[in-house]
Amino acid sequence: MSKPPDIVPGDLEAPSGAPELAANELDAAPSDRRSVHDLWLSGTEAPRELGPFTDEGAQEMLAGESPELLADQTGTLVDDDYEGSGRSHDDELQIINMGPQHPATHGVLRLHLELDGETIRRVKPIIGYLHTGMEKTAEALTFMQGSTNVTRMDYLSPLHNELGYSLAVEKLLQVEVPPRAAAIRVLMSELNRIASHLLWSATSGFDIGALSMMIYGLRERESLLEFFEKTTGLRMNHNYIRPGGVAADLPSDWREDMVSIIETVESGLADYVTLLLGNPIFIERTRGVGILTHDECLAFGVTGPVARASGVDYDVRKVFPYSGFEQYDFEIPVTTNGDVYDRFLVRFEEIRQSIRIVRQVMETIPEGDYRTEDRKVTPPPRARIDESMEALIHHFKIFTEGFKVPAGETYQAVESSRGELGMYLVSDGGPKPWRLHVRGPSFANVQSLPMMLADSLIADTVAALASADPVMGDVDR
């Protein structure tokens, strides 16, 4: 096995053993690359034209009709170009259904694959198997209860959902959170990014064939989940980041926990890099597979590590900063090949950059309140309820009717582990949202699957799908 690559921040080089893609592989001939408009339309499956029935012993009959067919069958015409133009007979197209219950579709995604032998001609993703009506439920819950609902959409990065929602509500309320709350939010969301990428590397490695990755990734993630449980009360779906601040302050020994988490994750990351990135089998399975070009990313609204692996330099934390991200020093890894291997490089580097941000928060976090003092928005501390009538009334109003948010609409985006997670919130002045629409990054990423998988092999479907990291809770809501 070749030496594991040393990835220096900001300098993403493939290890020396990995073959670089030749320039012409990316500039495929136009006819070989699906156009962005050529998506599978329902009802337009080509009618099957039954050609002459071929039979082993009937080759002589065809000699007159199609000399190439005969040459092909007798083996005199050797055509290595299995992807291509030489022998696609339309009557051999076959539709295979993958999912919704499938070990490798990362949730309940159903794919219709139109195959020519092993080559995929068209892909149609069918979603909706996890549609939970969360946007309708959001209209029935108060603004403070909203984060319990929203947190279950992208269930691998629940804190990002909560952060986006809370920021949107605070924008309409015109309320500022204290700097300590903003710093805690940054810390928790970066820890969530690390946890999500660890889980992604566990499941993707497992799908590609590195079965032990499942155990390694989940093992490192447990240390993060223990910290989450200590701070927020739950391992997942925390309901911790709420409009006005966060639900509780960090535990007093959080810095020791950070040190030990960082150590665990860094040693785990070194293991994954050794296991995966230099491995020739892994390189074969991921280099040049599932390519999405820069322009396709922009046209389909693909964001996140998938877009950054294709050269789109867009990260909401840098371009439209929120919650104090502008004060931290970190880099956005961007590569240009746009294949599965690059997405692994980008996500591993993002874990390192998140650790860098966590270290900076450890040093610079200010003391202060963990939620805003405005008692119309955040409930008073429980002890005050016994002492003050006003506190009791505020508590009562907030928990029964809910605080009212001025009428208006806003769109607030955060950078989740999968891309731009946006919340479009419309309020009519009441205690419940009039409309909450969540722009899930995986919805757009799943839409780009037909482009990623066009003219690839079935075995590449799993690798490409794993690298796109769709979370069906985000897609279907």
Binding site: G107, Y129, L130, T132, G133, Y155, M214, E222, R235, M472
Partner: protein, 156 residues
């Protein structure tokens, strides 16, 4: 309804016990992870809370090879027929654990889109509450199922 596990005949009583014991050893789950509970199910199978102590770390993709279906997550109206189809493909004896609040009763999503409790679609043996239930809760549910089978209370 509970059926006494001891039959009048000494030989068949011992045989019953042996059969029940065998059924609980290494029940293979069919992977039916839908949403957040699926992640906790994976965490239960991972290193910290190890399902492979019970012979259950192999989540069979094909329902024909599985005995236990852990419905982990929210079942939408579109998914319900798929759930039933997968359940029907499993061979007897088979058990169902409904994991999480959404699978047990619709959870916090009492709306048009979800089946309010997966027991409207398949018969359920054990309900594991939680949102999501931690690995320890799921383990407790699985072990309760195994005890119920050994005691003859859950009969297939």
């Amino acid at each position: 309804m509970a059926r006494p596990s001891s039959s009048p005949n000494l030989v068949t009583a011992a045989l019953d016990k042996a059969v029940h014991w065998a059924q609980t050893r290494s029940m293979w789950p069919a992977s039916f992870g839908l949403a957040c509970c699926a992640i906790e199910m994976m965490a239960t199978g991972a290193a910290h809370n190890d399902l492979s102590r019970f012979g259950m770390e192999v989540f069979r993709a094909s329902p024909r090879q599985a005995d236990l279906m852990i419905v982990a997550g929210r079942v939408s109206q579109k998914m319900a027929p798929v759930l039933r189809q997968v359940y029907d493909q499993m061979a007897e004896p088979k058990w169902v654990i409904s994991m999480g609040a959404c699978a047990s009763s619709g959870g916090m999503f009492n709306n048009y889109a979800l089946v309010q409790g997966v027991d409207q679609v398949v018969p359920v043996d054990i309900y594991v509450p939680g949102c999501p239930p931690g690995p320890q809760s799921l383990m407790h549910g699985i072990l309760s199922l195994q005890e119920g089978i050994k005691a003859g209370e859950i009969v297939r």
